[in-house]
Amino acid sequence: MVVDTVDMKGLSDRLAATEVKGRSLWADARRRFIRNKAAVAGVIVLVAIALLSIFGDALAVWTNEEIDFNVIGQAAQLGYPSIENGHYFGTDDLGRDLYSRTLQGTRISLMVGIVGSFIAVIVGTLYGAISGYVGGRTDQIMMRIVDILLAIPFMFVIILLLVMFGRSIFLLFLGIGLLSWLNMARIVRGQTLSLKHKEYVEAAQATGVAGFVIVLRHIVPNLLGIVAVYATLLVPEMILTESFISFLGLGVQEPLTSLGALISEGAKTILYGTIWQLAYPLAFFVLTLFAFFFVGDGLRDALDPKDR
């Protein structure tokens, strides 16, 4: 759950400073991003994986929960990847098709990653923006609360939550999202502090626009750059967290699965000669995370032009 926050602070300072330049910043950024081969490749891979996970089921012969009764019990001998019987990625121990399970697991993992970081971003941005904008005592108290929460080992709390209340996708989203808004809040607050004294904000204040409206209209839009970068880097962290929870057996309910759950099953059975059970899901997992990292790094570099 660690995005390099110091680097983010540097980026946030720079974005605040260059805000005045307005549109040209984004145009420049886009140009720089397109020049970054790794980042572009990341985007292509991500789009491909997303498309495959959404539409790939059309090619599947089996659904993600159907058991192939010809294969069940002989996964090591008959469950290998094969075009003929429709198991392109082979089957799991129960004879279920890994191709459709991998696609479905990718969907869940992407969803956990994206929804989780969405929650983190929304909560973190609003909290940070309000804290920074209102300032004074409120700011101090709000930031103290963040400090306190930061010292709580949240992974422990998530484990507790899932153990206590049974697994549900909703709890998983919520837990993982709540795990990561704290740093976002700090960064956003920092940037809000510097935005607050820009002429246009002061102008809005002078004309009597309500504080909340100023935050939403003038502050938040100017935070988009940093938020986008942070969110992109958060997604892979979320997916990793989910995979750990799946390893503990607290992930999504069968017959649904996630990449984390597939990998963890595959890893536990490598001794038995069913390597494809690990290989395919792991490939999707690694590719997805790689791509997100590259895109995130690319976005950051594009918005923060330094020679890296």
């Binding site: 390099d4 010292a151 709580i152 422990f156 690694v286």
Partner: protein
């Protein structure tokens, strides 16, 4: 500085209180208790058990006496499941193990990660750089629960070089696989962060000045570039610490090291209330302490920061 430390420690108390209350309430809200068994206990036996462990008291009283036990006697209570042990004993046995392989992993991760990061930065855009970046991203996304069984299969089953688990008081051959499994992803993150910040530092003005003075490159890097380049690494270490504790669950699970990571998960599953609270408090305190140490180090390295 001292005032700052005192302030931080003062905040630690409410933080821990909050942590205790959240965990305590979560635990008791959960279905089932420590004595819920497949063979339902006769009501009288259950009553005897609850009386023995004070579970028949109202919740607030249980919480109060628990907290009082900690403050007054540093007593975290008895385990409800491992009935011949107290929480203090369980932690005293498991924590040194976790600390030992955790600390070693930390050292390995920092040392290898920083070296790799610097090497990649100095040889920017060469094959060494690409290799380092590739390896580190790869290592970062490979979960340790995948790595652990692969290590086991390779070193224990195929090569027969290392014992497949156990601790034996921390003999080297039992420590190697846990440390590899735990340190790899941190090593990778640290390498990436070091590389990025090193690249940035190397293009900054004061390095240009140092180079202009004709200092040899090695000296420029060791004396002028390294310190500022390590700042982001330092701030990464705080949160990394917690993630590492979480990762120790996997190590304990696969390598039977007997650390507290597995004890925590077990205690949550078994409703071993006192053990679970005890470990949560321990990890919470360590997190606070560790963050503080990191901040102090930060101030020490970066004189621009004043508290």
């Amino acid at each position: 500085m001292l005032v700052y430390i005192a302030k931080r420690l003062a905040v630690a108390v409410p933080t821990l209180m909050l942590l205790i209350i959240i965990s305590f309430l979560l635990m008791h809200a959960a279905p089932g208790g420590p004595f819920t068994q497949e063979r339902q206990l006769p009501a009288q036996v259950l009553a005897n058990l609850e009386a023995k462990y004070g579970l028949d008291q109202p919740l607030w009283k249980q919480l109060a006496s628990y907290v009082w036990g900690i403050i007054a006697h540093f007593d975290f209570g008895p385990s409800f499941i491992y009935k011949d042990r107290t929480v203090n004993e369980i932690v005293a046995q498991g924590f040194p193990v976790t600390l030992y392989y955790g600390f070693l992993s930390f050292l390995v991760a920092v040392f290898v990660g920083v070296s790799l990061g610097i090497a990649a930065a100095i040889r920017h855009n060469t094959w060494l750089d690409y290799l380092a970046v590739g390896v580190s991203i790869g290592a970062q996304v490979l979960p340790n629960f995948v790595m652990a069984p692969i290590l086991l299969l390779t070193f224990t089953y195929w090569l027969r070089w290392l014992p497949g688990g156990g601790w034996e008081g921390g003999q080297w051959q039992y420590v190697i696989m846990p440390v590899i499994a735990l340190s790899t992803s941190f090593m990778a993150s640290i390498a990436r962060i070091t590389r990025a910040s090193m690249l940035e530092v190397l293009t900054s003005n004061h390095i240009r000045t140092a180079r202009a003075k004709g200092l040899p490159e090695r000296k420029v890097i060791m004396r002028h570039a390294l310190k500022p380049a390590l700042l982001p690494v330092l701030s990464y270490l705080g949160p990394a610490f917690v993630t590492m504790i979480t990762g120790s669950v996997v190590v304990d699970f696969f390598f039977s090291t007997g650390g507290i990571g597995k004890s925590f998960v077990d205690s949550a599953l078994n409703r071993d209330y006192a053990v679970m609270l005890g470990i949560t408090i321990l990890v919470g305190s360590l997190t606070i302490l560790f963050n503080l140490v990191v901040d102090i180090l930060y101030a020490w390295i970066d004189p621009k920061i004043r508290y």
